[in-house]
Amino acid sequence: MSIRIDGLSKKFGGHVAVQEASIEVGTGKLVALLGPSGSGKTTLLRLIAGLEFPDEGRVFFHGEEVTQKSAYERRAGFVFQHYALFQHLSVFDNIAFGLEVRPRATRPCKDEIRERVHCLLKLVQLEPFAKRFPAQLSGGQRQRVALARALAIEPRVLLLDEPFGALDAKVRKELRAWLRRFHDETQITSLFVTHDQEEAFEVANEVVILNHGHIQQIGAPGLIQREPANAFVHDFLGLDFQI
């Protein structure tokens, strides 16, 4: 499942958040949106997810235009920076949520839901925690619950907004490596937002660099580091010492 965005622009009041952004993400790729805070990377991700709607431009999932479709109709899995878990529901019920809210005709039966949730718990290595509540988990565990919850609806693409942003350095590294492996196994087309260049270059196949709502450069990590497209990219990556 590929993602293509074509000339996306979004303003909030007078503030330009994203300006004529065009990106293509190939099927099975893991792409990072990298930029300083306020560069429009989260807005871009939200435009792709259908949580915001663009002033101009179009969004395609696998060639099919989804610009005017709702978030759910796009079937995008979304992981929030601060997890956005349902505090009053157990880990199991959080993950089952996307299946439980389906209309009766398409809702899997109880046993099937239980089986799918346990499968996902196994995938994110949280099997013993099914009955816990989010408040009883560590940050890294919560983020994995959020991921399992997003995967429960069998999304066509996976969108992650600063998925490791709220975690400490050690957990961050572990989870990063885990995400890399997870992506290699599932091959689900994924796009994640980060302000941490190390994270972007280590995890992603391709990196999109943004500043002030404009895309500065798109390319493989190695290429960007070898040949920064402009002064901003050069500066942002801190490449000065190589001169």
């Binding site: 997810a49 949580l51 709702s70 978030a71 759910y72 995008a76 899995g77 979304f78 929030f80 601060h82 956005a84 878990l85 349902f86 505090q87 009053h88 529901l89 949520f97 996307g98 809210v101 389906r102 509540f133 408040a135 009883q136 919850r149 997003a150 429960a152 609806i153």
Partner: protein
């Protein structure tokens, strides 16, 4: 034990003395008064049919009023926190009026409005509803005075609910109603329950506004606080204290149950083992 925050002993000591003076001693005096005379008389007073009928009315009407306030208070708090519209601040200010108004004034105003010759009362009379000098009137007054409690306890909670949780629900395919019912409402439920409990407690003790609108008919529209005043007027201080004690114990029991449920729920969700 060493503490970082200063003033533990001072503030604890102050709180203990203050609570003793303000709360504990009056309650102890009430209990002592109730048991000061013959126990037989005490029992006779607190179980007399007229008093028992008033317990039923007071607790029943207060419960019903606080539940009504739960529903409409939730809607009002929702509107005030979720949307921005012209007049929102005025509306927000109006919520506090029942707090600010002396209850006797509220009683007179409500009676004037809902009595058969009042503006609203006259309209209601045409469709055959009498809204004053009966139990409906009591309910109206109790709803009026309890309303702010629900709104004011819910508002901060509804504001603090993060938007991304609702977005997450929508992304997972929940309809707007499912998002509300399965995500927003459960998150606000503890605060709603607290608000309803506060409104209930306030309604139980209400006297000023009720005496005007209820008509005070024995067995029909006599609330318990009215009977306490009636006993006092007959110089039956022991009887008055006895009825007061019954109300006190019942309220205490209800509050204990509600708080117990809340604490159980909080432990279930936040306990780390």
């Amino acid at each position: 034990m060493r503490r970082i925050l200063p003033g533990f002993r001072l503030t604890l000591g102050f709180s203990a003395v203050y609570l003793t003076l303000i709360v504990l001693i009056p309650f102890a005096a009430l209990t002592a008064k109730a048991f000061s005379g013959s126990w037989h008389h005490l029992w006779e007073v607190v179980t007399s049919p007229r008093v028992v009928a008033s317990y039923q009315l007071s607790f029943g009407a207060s419960l019903l009023a606080s539940l009504i306030n739960g529903v409409f208070g939730f809607i009002t708090a929702w509107v005030l926190t979720r949307y921005s519209f012209p007049g929102r601040r005025v509306m927000d200010g109006l919520v506090d009026l029942p707090f600010a108004l002396p209850t006797a004034v509220a009683g007179i105003a409500l009676t004037a409005l809902y009595a058969p010759n009042g503006w609203v009362g006259a309209l209601l009379a045409k469709v055959g509803i009498a809204a004053a000098f009966n139990r409906l009137g009591i309910l109206l007054a109790l709803v009026f005075i309890g309303f702010p409690f629900v709104v004011r306890t819910l508002q901060p909670v509804l504001i603090s609910l993060s938007e991304d949780v609702e977005e997450a629900a929508a992304l997972l395919g929940a309809t707007r109603f499912q998002t509300f019912w399965r995500v927003v409402f459960p998150a606000a439920l503890p605060a709603l329950l607290t608000g309803i409990t506060l409104a209930f407690g306030r309604a139980l003790g209400e006297y000023g506004s009720i005496v005007f609108i209820s008509g005070n008919l024995p067995f029909k529209t006599e609330i318990t606080p009215l009977l306490i005043v009636a006993k006092l007027e007959q110089y039956d201080y022991q009887g008055a204290a006895g009825i007061g004690l019954v109300m006190l114990l019942a309220s205490f029991g209800i509050l204990a149950v509600v708080n117990g449920v809340q604490a159980w729920n909080a432990r279930r969700i936040y306990r780390i083992d």
